[in-house]
Symmetry: C2
Subunit: 320 residues, 2 copies
Amino acid sequence: MNTSTVLNARSIDQAGRRISLLGNIDDKPAILLVERAAFSTYDNALESLAWSLRSVHNLGVNDIYSWFMACSGQVSADTEVSSDVKINLIWPCTPKHITKYSAQGVRNVTETPQIYRDQVKPYMQKNRDDGRLNWIYDILEGRAEQEDVMHRRVSDEDAAENEGFMLLPDLNWDRKTIASLHCLGLCERRDIWSLRDLCKKHVPWLKHMRQKLLDATTKLYPALEDDQLKLYIHYQPTYYHFHIHVVNVLSDPGSTQAVGKALNLENIIDQLERMKSDDDGMHDVTLTYTIGEASDLWLKVFEPLKRESSKRKRDELTGT
Amino acid sequence: MNTSTVLNARSIDQAGRRISLLGNIDDKPAILLVERAAFSTYDNALESLAWSLRSVHNLGVNDIYSWFMACSGQVSADTEVSSDVKINLIWPCTPKHITKYSAQGVRNVTETPQIYRDQVKPYMQKNRDDGRLNWIYDILEGRAEQEDVMHRRVSDEDAAENEGFMLLPDLNWDRKTIASLHCLGLCERRDIWSLRDLCKKHVPWLKHMRQKLLDATTKLYPALEDDQLKLYIHYQPTYYHFHIHVVNVLSDPGSTQAVGKALNLENIIDQLERMKSDDDGMHDVTLTYTIGEASDLWLKVFEPLKRESSKRKRDELTGT
């Protein structure tokens, strides 16, 4: 194949692991889609993988974490090759790391307003009481990670309106590739734990936050316009202090943007706006989302509920 | 590194292109995350890619489409290697293929009820009038692709309730890997073009459809339970005949499940249920979503609207 033109060369398709080439075969146009294959999961192949890595070069080290690029497979010594695998090494690792990187089942669950009120909200409360938000307060109050703060709008300017927020890079963003831009807007107010606390009365605040986040991002990255950014909220979120995700519309969506986890901020604003009174809000809707089987919410709330409901159905069938 | 245990070996992380290995280094546990790297996008590297493919073997051919596995990079002849790239060849290809696989900008747009009524609905109408749904009617009426139909529930049984539907494999599903299961529930009724046509009065029908789709899928794949499936709707959809996506909660989310494109079916049902009267519905909400810059909706509806609004703002500023 004679590839005369490269299509989509700056593609971020599947995080750059798929490219499309345009060329000719026998004078007729052809498209060649080349993508990195899945790893073979036969036991032998996996076991030999760590042994077969060649031309390993280090990209960086930070405490127990280090990064490398390498070549998989056997390569003859005299040829020039480019790296085809990226490697993260965690050493020594803890049991927590092992759980995090082990295969985990996932369930789709439905949280009614009642389940939220009786079980999920108390769980959130406990989670907050455990001091799990201290790292956020450290950032908000300037005690930690100040070098990471991309934009800060202090609420003192207009404290009454609770408008303070910070723009931070998401942990998974490399902080330089605009096409995969992923930031977090962390609000200063502490009364909103999650999506569930949003009411109709928060609509002006949400709209204001939305515009300020867009302004801050496009000011930092002038190549981007408002409509090249997408804003969403996680439910369940990783931590119970309200924050908004800001991503480039071109970014590889992955699980952070997946339906069942991410909810479009604008659609939520519209839903709130159409509610009747100021105190109507997301505490009163039914939300369906996915959670890991190893999560506390599955183990302590939804799995017991499922078991109960199966038992009830069985009892009804057997007439007991 | 001595890899004693394989973690997440059946991982579908990033479509199997990332695996986690647990092992030991100097008697301390280590996690090694290996993932296929992005292709190098230097012009030279791309141009040489098509030339450097080795050990190409054909997986199948269908008309102008063919599939292969191959090894990238230079490999010495005497070593056994496993394929590291997957290749699709389209030959000869048409200009339509070229547009489809070219890099395309994306925009986040907001469709108000008025924009829907005045511009998007007429566009849908035209799209339907152009005969673009003929392939669906061919399937529904048994004239085509009958070998692909996984489950059919004919509406004749209870025609009044419009309950007919078909379960089909999504084009991008390999039809065998349960972890990446992706099916489409195609309803027989033709009066619902998209999400926009759903009203409060459709809630019982939607709930019924939802359960029938779950039943059909778990009957075909008994390893799956209801709560291991996720149901969603696209807006904008690819074609204007109402259909529901059914995926394994474990499936690699990618762009098909991304916020800004996919909406959780259960959340939509809840939103409809909370509306006031039977004819209230999704035609009356504001929806924000992402579309390609090459799409007709961007070129003919949203881009002109954006230009107009910029001009208005400019005029206001200059006082003309």
